[in-house]
Symmetry: C2
Subunit: 93 residues, 2 copies
Amino acid sequence: MELITLVIYDIPDDDLRYQVAKYLKSKGLKRIQKSAFAGPLTSAQRAELIAGLKKLIKGREANVQVYPLTPASFNQRVVLGVELKYEEEEHVI
Amino acid sequence: MELITLVIYDIPDDDLRYQVAKYLKSKGLKRIQKSAFAGPLTSAQRAELIAGLKKLIKGREANVQVYPLTPASFNQRVVLGVELKYEEEEHVI
């Protein structure tokens, strides 16, 4: 069963933050805030995602949290305010 | 029934971001990332929180998302990386 998987992250380093965003996009998740992505994943896909994230941030200053949401949780979410535009983050070298 | 309520926000303005963080703290939520708080709330408390947030960010450039999590969702969360330290944000005037 697919669950909406919510990923929120806190990564001070621009380059690593960009890499994580790119990785989440490559896994089919959509950006819902500057530092949050969400999308439907099976539990196997979620396990793969978690393993990939672990590898990416290993030893770095980063905090990433992954929440599998039931359809009820996701449908009961409340979104307030405006939809902010997120430019593609620059790849800072 | 209390559900863990997850609040994530994206607020470019320092002062408004500080006000929102302070408000969430005043409602008993705990900071789990720079721009994310969580804590148990009844549905009445959650409704009050949402009304308060709506008022705070009205007309401002802000996106705030509120997710009521089932105990299963919350217990299945995965936290990767390090626990970052968050200094109290300065109240920028």
